[in-house]
Symmetry: C2
Subunit: 291 residues, 2 copies
């Protein structure tokens, strides 16, 4: 590749407005970009060309300035949050913060002992996030359902948020804040019907949308949920690009994952073992509803 | 439920060896466990009964003492690690540690700015882990591929590990440590063929097993990979129980996730944008191979 063309492409990579000119330049080039670039510089030019091709995909919104506030509370389930975080933080130009409901920025431990470093407190969090997100958990979620500063924060930030969202039992925290009244929503399968105590209509679905509220089912549903949110914010082609980046073509090695597809000899006891947690979650929901 | 039976069940909950007696007791009971327990105590009894039923499932290994060492390095991809962490840490009795390759226990930032608190350093990590695990990443992974203390750690711990594992480009770190020579393995789709530079045979599959080595494909493949590992350690019924707990019945809201299922107008540029990273990864692999 001649040095002049290389310099031109470098300049174009920094000037998205010139994309149509790049298309012309590319059309004039006799050969497609080399599969294996010989130098790092060549690889960078290849990437710049690819970037421009990508931006020409119809209905693809590559750039955006969304703010995403993801709540952390002691005992949250890390996978509920990290699945969506991957997709939200991969959106070019988005700003994703991790908001602790504790007084300091100390790492917040999950229910399984994985501690994540917050980047903001309830007081310093984005004033008007595009997306407000709450992960689920177990006993920690019950505490969050009755933690007044957390509920006040959610109510205040939800007022201007474009999307009010949750995965797993995070929907019960949204419900405890009064944000699901009259809304369809979902949650982890063992806790889903508790949503009714908080004025919501429980729906057995992987992703449930009702107005600005998007809720995902249990734990791993966060990946499906996040793709739906990215589609809403950036269009389907961009969401499909991130889906490919995440290599999200799930292929569980054996069947299962729902009560219907799991041997009742396993699913029955699994539900039974959650009985104390569900009892306490329902009691918290009823206390909130009675206020 | 009479108080005597309640006391008996409480005692039984703490004495797994009495499970057969509990089965007899349950058979003698006229009614099935109540669906909605009236008190927290009743809920706990229901859970204890469920626990015993669960342990009676054939081929289910509920308890174990596995040690799992999961590597953290600057620039790792958080979802590569947190997907498997959910399943490994949910195995009753397992001990999961997060091993930083840095000198201190300071939180380690992912490629997308999510920092996780390690629980051990390379020096204090389990001496003989049952499972050794390496997540992928982007430029951080290239650095890890040439970080001698990390490679020395992996070689030493792999010697006695039952399973040597990775997700995404974590396999390139295993390869750089010389642990994939003559083995079939997989990686993120854009980096998979680089495995050949490190003496491995790249395989286009979600989960690849070769002897003690189990590798998963890109990012989200960690969930499928982890279920395969749990099945290996605890049998399929227990893995299916955790699959149900995670509500892992994936349902992406639109197609995609592989080159074959993604519009070439999207997949082509996505691959092109990785060119500089792939160039640098391949160069690191060649430097390792030349040593």
């Amino acid at each position: 590749m001649p040095l002049e063309r290389r310099a031109l492409l470098h300049a174009l990579a920094a000037a998205p407005a010139l994309a149509p000119f790049l298309a012309l330049e590319r059309a004039m080039a006799a050969t497609p970009p080399p599969k294996a670039p010989a130098t790092l510089d060549d690889a960078r030019i290849q990437a710049a060309e690819a970037h421009h091709k990508f931006m020409e995909v119809p209905n693809l919104r590559m750039h955006g300035g969304e703010t995403v506030s993801m709540l952390l509370y002691p005992g949250f389930t890390a996978l509920d949050l990290v699945g969506p975080h991957y997709f939200f933080a991969s959106m070019m130009g988005s700003k994703v913060e991790l908001v602790t409901n504790q007084p300091t920025l100390a790492p917040v431990a999950s229910d399984l002992g994985l501690a994540i470093q917050p980047t903001a407190t309830l007081n310093t969090a984005f004033a008007r996030p595009t997306v407000l997100f709450v992960p689920g958990g177990s006993l920690g979620t019950v505490a969050a359902m009755e933690h007044e500063p957390t509920l006040d924060y959610l109510v205040e930030r939800a007022a201007d948020a474009r999307l009010i969202t949750s995965v797993c039992t995070g929907s019960l925290v949204l419900g405890a804040a009064g944000l699901l009244k009259g809304r369809k929503a979902t949650s982890h399968w063992v806790a889903r019907d508790i949503l009714a105590e908080l004025g919501a209509t429980p729906v057995d679905a992987r992703i449930v949308r009702d107005g600005p509220v998007i809720t995902g089912a249990g734990v791993s549903a966060g990946l499906d949920f996040a793709l739906a949110v990215v589609e809403e914010l950036r269009g389907r082609p961009y969401a499909q690009a991130l889906m490919l980046q995440a290599e999200y073509a799930p292929a569980p090695p054996f069947p299962g994952g729902t009560e219907a597809t799991t041997d009742p000899a396993i699913a029955g006891p699994m539900e039974g073992m959650f009985a104390p947690l569900i009892f306490q979650t329902r009691a918290a929901a009823r206390r909130r509803a009675a206020r």
